[in-house]
Amino acid sequence: MKRADEVLVGVVVLIGIALAVVGSIWLSQVRLGASDIRHEARFRSVGLLQVGNPVLLRGVKIGRVESVTLGRNDWVMVGLRLKGTQKLPERTVAIIFSATLFGDWAVQLLDRHDLPNDPDVRRQVQEAALNAGAVWPGAALPDVGQLTQQAGRIAGDLATIAGRVQEAFDSSSAEKLRGAFTDISRLSKVLANMASQQQQVLTRIGGNLDTGTASLARFATAMERTAHRADSATDKAQIQHILSSADTVGVALRATATDLRSLVGAARSQQESFVRIVARFDSVMGRVNAGEGTLGRLSRDTTLYTEAVATVRQMRLLLADVQANPRRYFQFSVF
C-alpha cells in the first residue's frame, strides 16, 4: 500500500511538473536546442512593449522580446531573441509599434534606408545610433493613445471654435445673415439669367461648330477621296509610265539644255557685237556732242534749223500758189 502510494504520488507529481514546465515553454515559444541569437536594441521609450511580444522582419515573425530593462543614460535596453537562420538587414534598426488597438505591441526590424518618413523617428534612430556599438538603434512609433490624445485636442479646439461661433451669432448677426442670404438669392437670379443667355450663345456657337464640323468632315472625305486617287494612281504600271515619261522628258531637257548653251554662246557673241556697236555709237554721239562733223555742226548751229523752217514755209506757200494757179507753172498740150 505504501509503495503504491509512492508510485502514484510520484507519477502525479512528475506529470504536474511536466505540465507546468512544458506548458510554459510551449506558450513562451522558446525553441530548446535551436540556434537562437540574442540581439540588443536601445530606445528612449518602449511604450507598452513587454517580454514575449513578437519581433518581425518584413512582417514575418522571427523572434520575440526577451527582456526589457532600463540601461545607462536613460536608455531602455530591449533584448531580442531571434532565430539564427534569418538574414538580417545590414544596418538593422528596431522600430516599436502598436500592432493592434488592444496593447498588442511588436518590434519591426528594418534596414536604416527603409525607415518611415517621419522626422521624429529618424531623429530617435540617429540619436540611438550614436556610439551604439553592437546595440541596434531603435525608435518607437506613436501609439494609439498618443494619436487619441491628439484627436482629443483637435476635438477640443473644434469645440472652442464652435463655442466662439455661437457667441458671435447673435440676433443682429442673424438679420445681417438673412440680408446676405437675400442678396445672394438676387445675385443667384441674375447669374441664372446670365447663364441662360450664355447658354443660348453657346448653343449658337455649338450650331456653328456643328456646321464647321460637317464642312470639315466633307473636306476630310474629299481629301480622303483624293488620297485614294493618288493612292490608286501610284500603282505599279502608272509609276512605270511616269518614270519612262520622266526619262523622255529628261532627254528632251538635256537637248534643250544643249540648245540653250549654244544660244547662250550666240547671245554672248551678239552681246559682244552689241557692246562694240554701243561703244562706236557712244563715240559717234561723243563727237556729235562735241560739235564735230556734219551732225555735230547741225546739232549745235541753229541757222540751219531756221533756214530749214523758212524753206518749209516757202515750200508751203509755193504749193498753195501752184494749187491756186496751176497754169502759171504747168503747160499741157496734146500735140
Binding site: D5, E6, L8, V9, S24
Partner: protein, 255 residues
C-alpha cells in the same frame, strides 16, 4: 459593546498567538524526518492525488465558462482571438489557483480538521504524546508539507485542464479557430504567469493544511467541537485564500 469588542480583539490576538506557537512548533519538528518522512507519501496521495478529480472537474467547467464569457464580453471591436488570451491569463493568474484552493479548502481542510479534531477529542493525540511522538512531526508536518507540495501540482493540472476545455469550447461553440485561440493564448503570456499561479497555490496549500491542523488539534468538546472546528477551518481557509490572493497580487503583480 466596547467590552465585547475588547474581548473579541483579545480573543483574536490570542488566536494569532496560539497559531504563531503552533507554526513555530511545526517548524521545530522539521528535523524529525524519521517521524514525518514515513507519513508524507500517504498524505500526498490523500491530499493531492485524491483531490485531482474534483479539481479537474472544477477546472474543466471553469475553462468552458471562461471561453463563453470571454466571447460574450468582447464586442465586435475586439478580435475573437482575445478569447484565448482571456482564458489563459485568467486561468493561470487567478481562477486556477483560487477556485482549486477554495475547493480543496472544503475537501482537504475540512478533512484534516475533522480527522485531527476526532483524534483530539478521543484522546488519540494524548496517547501519541504519551508514546513520545511529537504530534507536530507525526500529524501536522506531513499534512502541511503534502499540502504545500501537492497544491501546485493539482493547480498545474487544473490550469492545463481549464485551458484545454476553454480551447474545446472556443473551437466547437464559437467561430474561432485553433490558430486564433493559440494566438490569443500566447499573445500576453509571460512565464511568470505560471510561476505566480504556482506560488499562490503553494501558499494556499500551506495555509489550508495549517489551519486544518491547528483547529483540529485545538478542538474542544465532543462531536460538536469537531463539527465547529471543521466549519471554522473551511471558513478561515476560504478567507485566508482571498487574503493571500490579494497579498500576492499586491506584492508580485504590482508594477
Amino acid at each position: 459593546m466596547l467590552a465585547a469588542l475588547g474581548r473579541r480583539s483579545v480573543g483574536i490576538t490570542e488566536l494569532f498567538g496560539h497559531l504563531g506557537h503552533f507554526v513555530a512548533d511545526t517548524l521545530r519538528a522539521v528535523p524529525d524526518v524519521r517521524t514525518w518522512g514515513r507519513q508524507i507519501f500517504p498524505m500526498m496521495r490523500r491530499i493531492g492525488v485524491d483531490s485531482l478529480p474534483i479539481a479537474l472537474f472544477i477546472a474543466a467547467f471553469t475553462g468552458i465558462v471562461l471561453a463563453l464569457l470571454a466571447s460574450y464580453t468582447v464586442t465586435a471591436a475586439v478580435p475573437l482571438y482575445f478569447v484565448g488570451a482571456l482564458v489563459g491569463k485568467t486561468t493561470m493568474l487567478e481562477l486556477g489557483p483560487v477556485l482549486t484552493g477554495l475547493a480543496l479548502a472544503g475537501r482537504v481542510g475540512a478533512n484534516i480538521a475533522a480527522e485531527l479534531g476526532s483524534m483530539r477529542v478521543t484522546e488519540q493525540v494524548d496517547a501519541l504524546e504519551t508514546l513520545a511522538y511529537d504530534p507536530h512531526a507525526y500529524l501536522v508536518l506531513p499534512r502541511v508539507m503534502a499540502g504545500t507540495l501537492m497544491f501546485p501540482i493539482i493547480v498545474a493540472f487544473a490550469m492545463a485542464t481549464a485551458i484545454f476545455m476553454g480551447w474545446v469550447a472556443a473551437t466547437t461553440l464559437l467561430p474561432i479557430t485553433t490558430a486564433e485561440f493559440l494566438r490569443g493564448l500566447r499573445l500576453f503570456y509571460v512565464p511568470f504567469d505560471v510561476t505566480f499561479g504556482l506560488i499562490k497555490s503553494a501558499s494556499f496549500g500551506f495555509v489550508i493544511t495549517m489551519i486544518g491542523c491547528f483547529l483540529g488539534l485545538n478542538t474542544r468538546g465532543g462531536a460538536e467541537g469537531v463539527g465547529d472546528a471543521t466549519t471554522r477551518t473551511v471558513v478561515y481557509s476560504a478567507e485566508m485564500i482571498l487574503v493571500l490572493d490579494a497579498y500576492w497580487a499586491i506584492t508580485l503583480l504590482r508594477p
